[in-house]
Amino acid sequence: MKETPLSNCEKRFLLRAIEERKRLDGRQSYDYRNVRVSFGTDYGCCVVELGKTRVLGQVSCELVAPKPNRATEGILFFNLELSPMASPAFELGRQSELLVKLNRLLERCLRNSKCIDTESLCVVAGEKVWQIRVDLHLLNHDGNIIDAASIAAIVALCHFRRPDISVQGEEITVYTPEERDPVPLSIHHMPICVSFAFFKQGTYLLVDPSEREERVMDGLLVIAMNKHHEICTIQSSGGIMLLKDQVLRCSKITGVKVAEITELIQKALENDRKVRKEGGKCGFAESIPNQKITAFKMERAPVDANDVEEQAEEIIMKADPPLDVFAKPILWTPGTAQIGEGVENSWGELEESERGEEEDDDNDPDTLEDPKMEMEDVSIVSKTKKDDTIVLSDSEEEEVVILKPEKVPKKTRTPTSSKQENSSKKVSNKKRKKKRVSY
């Protein structure tokens, strides 16, 4: 299937926004998206999320004969795959130009930088060495595949344990994990790629471009670096002329970003190690935030039922009686009008059932976004979302009441029977009404 084309207006909009140093997702030019690392139950299996871009990494090993010219070195093999699941534009089993480029860059970043000690993978010189295979699958594409893939590769390698072996004369024994604990690979350093997108012939620079930004960019610069500020790979594509200053500035930014990401990776690895040691639950199922069907069943919390009636009254007051079919055109508010008959849902009107939910919807984004991940810096995006919802409720007549129901689970506003409570409510109701008058 063809990928959805980018319309002219989107292109224009993005470029204009970039000229004003703004980005669609609310990031600053040099901001990186949130990185999230989660591990599978097996060693060497991880998922890295960079914003909405997701890459699954899996490391496996095998005993093979070494290459004749490098008899004492283990073999490293990298393979990135872009499946149609990530984006409809990707086709299965086709070596696209992008894929070749990404694979090559990964190899340069991880193999040529000698971050893995390949000599330690040798078992018997010239006869048997370990072949380490890193498979990376792109699960969702939202821009900047290479950064996500490089993080996933190095995290999976760090997490991986190979079976322990012993050599006695001619005999090689491979121990199962039950017999002897598997051993980690020896990793010298962790190279991480950071991408920079250039716009308007290099006038504007963005770190970590999203998918839409990648489509309008003029050029891309990828710098791979480790936390010791050693550049492992640098690649510029897109055919733009870069000045020395720009490259230097990019490498400085890379240094900062790499330090942050490395710290995050180490924390994640440490966390995982601790959980495994304690025999706790690990694996993807544990690390996925509660974004499933049951997520809307909120956690039970003791509810203050004092202002329930007020709230109910509020909702009833706010809700207009459902209107019948409109004559056209309809003026919603000054500036927003509806013309034509096509705008109605041809499958019937749904409002009745949803009116009640509306109130809850105001609060849900926050709880949904609620970051369950320990090692993340606070997301800017979710912050802005939060702001928005609050702004939305500000428009109500009474901001106090709207902000409150955040903790109230939906549809549990049962009418209380005790008279005492009722009377106290009435008092507060009166107060409320007085307030309203004063407004």
């Binding site: 809307f296 059932s353 979302k385």
Partner: protein
């Protein structure tokens, strides 16, 4: 589930899953034979199968997960009406008469190819614009946005769209958007926003005046410009975007992401 089967009437408003079989209310047997698919107006007492449902021997077979919806028949007839499954899917399936926003991807002779988000591109004749004649061609470039509606949409044929109504008027349709931003939300949210008296639109309208074009294919076009207004402008724009995107999973069925 399939073995036991649930009554379609009882299940309205409930979550149904693919493979569920809904037993129809006791209707005259002859009705089943005259089942009609598609959004054409059903005669009184007849049953209409909407998206996500398929007719099977026992009753209705559910093919999508979502909330079961029902609309009673227009007349006083019993045991008919329309059943459909309301879900939060993102893949658009063309439906005749739907107003949609498309992106022109190619100019091929006397038709334009338009991406509408469906599995296949729609075709749009250059004559299907208001005031267009063989001499007076509309100025459409590749990458432009068009707002129009489907006149042909069925599963075996290429969908065809037009930017005029039956009387040849534009009626708001045509080329839109040399400026502004296009973004995508789930189909459920679009249906919600297009429902009469939508509260989100009203609330937003109280915040600041705005104008948007909504396509049933999940696309929203906001015509405002970056530069035309002061600095905080893009905050509004991306605010709108984020708001919709944030609301998107919570609206509609309320249970599906």
């Amino acid at each position: 589930m399939a073995a036991s089967g649930l009554s379609a009437e009882v299940d309205v408003g409930q979550v149904v899953l693919p493979g569920d079989v809904l037993l129809l209310p006791a209707a005259p047997n002859a009705d089943g034979e005259r089942l009609r698919l598609g959004p054409s107006s059903a005669p009184r007492g007849r049953l209409l199968c909407g998206p996500g449902l398929r007719r099977c021997a026992a009753g209705l077979l559910v093919t999508k997960c979502g909330l079961l919806r029902h609309r009673p028949p227009a007349g006083a007839g019993t045991g008919g009406g329309a059943y459909w499954v309301d879900s939060q899917q993102k893949r658009y399936v063309p439906v005749k008469g739907d107003p949609i926003i498309g992106i022109v991807t190619a100019k091929a002779g006397d038709i334009f190819k338009v991406d509408v988000g469906g599995s296949e591109q729609a075709s749009l004749s250059y004559l299907a614009f208001e005031g267009a004649t063989k001499r007076n061609r509309p100025n459409v470039q590749v990458g432009d946005l068009v707002y129009g509606q489907f006149i042909v949409a069925n599963k075996d044929m290429e969908p065809e769209m037009v930017c005029i109504d039956s009387s040849g008027r534009a009626n708001g349709m045509g080329i839109i958007g040399h400026e502004g931003l296009l973004f995508k939300v789930s189909l459920g949210l679009i249906r919600k926003l297009l429902a009469p008296n939508c509260e989100i639109i009203q609330e937003l309208g109280q915040l600041y005046p705005f104008e948007i074009v909504l396509g049933m294919n999940g696309r929203i076009w906001d015509p405002r410009e970056v530069i035309s207004t002061p600095q905080d402008w893009i905050h509004q724009q991306s605010g709108l975007l984020h708001l919709f995107v944030a609301l998107s999973p919570n609206l509609g069925t309320g249970a599906f992401l």
